[in-house]
Symmetry: C2
Subunit: 244 residues, 2 copies
Amino acid sequence: MARTAAALVIGNEILSGKVQDANTATLARELRALGVELTRVVVIPDEVSLIAAEVNALRHAHDLVFTSGGVGPTHDDVTVEGIARALGRRVVRSPEVEALLREHYGARCTEGHLRMADVVEGTELYSGADPRWPTMVLGNIFVLPGVPEIYRYKLEGLRPRLRGADAPFVLRSVYTALDEGEIKPAIDAVVARFDDVSVGSYPRWRDPEYAVRVTFDGRDGARVREAADAFAALLPAGAVIRSE
Amino acid sequence: MARTAAALVIGNEILSGKVQDANTATLARELRALGVELTRVVVIPDEVSLIAAEVNALRHAHDLVFTSGGVGPTHDDVTVEGIARALGRRVVRSPEVEALLREHYGARCTEGHLRMADVVEGTELYSGADPRWPTMVLGNIFVLPGVPEIYRYKLEGLRPRLRGADAPFVLRSVYTALDEGEIKPAIDAVVARFDDVSVGSYPRWRDPEYAVRVTFDGRDGARVREAADAFAALLPAGAVIRSE
């Protein structure tokens, strides 16, 4: 049974529309390459009790949980406290993280900066390629920051840790000139024939290039390609703009 | 008590990273202007039982629920069926929507297109400014499509329906040259003094323009401006790059 994952996005900035979440797409793509299926994303405000409840719901229902946001030094950074409450543990200062922060900030280092050394008791600090910025891990919970560039950097650092026996997903796309109503019979035929390939259909609005992108996903690359080819072959001449 | 809303994003394309969700940011901004607080977003796969369970959880916990995606004619469009199951109702063909579809597609109209006329029994068809594309409404559930341009268009059409007595949110931002650890005392002072203003702090990664954006949100515009000004006044000279 392949692993599943959930993302918990902690951020008033997403819920108030100040910022558009980019981390979920980063996570989804990274996990597909590792053969892990992202099956749930939840976005909640920066509130300790909500974080605690959601962490507990997600960590029991999924193999892996990735939190995003709420790990800086300011008053609205309450992810560590939320996870501590979920696990029934205390928040303690990590001497290891404190040393890293003091080294990084030097003479500028404030008590504000050092607040980032507060971790859930029992936190594992996982250093991928870059020991300066270890990631907090609590069992199957991976605690990542909200800033997209750092999120991506730390997630890539987790690759050796996340790699398992799951076959990566393979994706093929066919772009059509016809609309969904018109290609539906061809899609249905392929869906019926390839139960190991997941077929998606994504229409565009007034796109001069194509009308619908039809995607074929699965862990067996040969079957995925076969399904995409079968679909294209069922369409009338000229209906396929391109495949990739 | 101001209204709260939840978004239910139905889409394998988001969970597999093929598409980055843009509709949540659109919804969040629209709701802020209407004085409604978006407090939860959930992204789930195109599966009837998951949709049904989630719709039921969200519609009882929030004043308004907005679904996004899964309303086209293809096999992966199962939102209507999911909502029907949540409400314990049947799916029926709407003569009104069927007539609109036949008019739009003309001679090209297929049974595939007409599948979009299948609605949950008892669905209200709300036409905003544009009666050609009514929105399906079921009590406090608003059913919107996944395609971002159409999502935005239909959401704007719902404005008269969604407008209430809630005071809209006002936002001010102060962009600083100092990092979060350095501005934390000033933020904490404002948080303590303005309990009716929500303060957020969003660092950038190697942005040449600024280090942190500090935001001030609330329903009382005068208080929001006062909080932003108080924060800026607490910073050393030259620390504020700009305010807006």
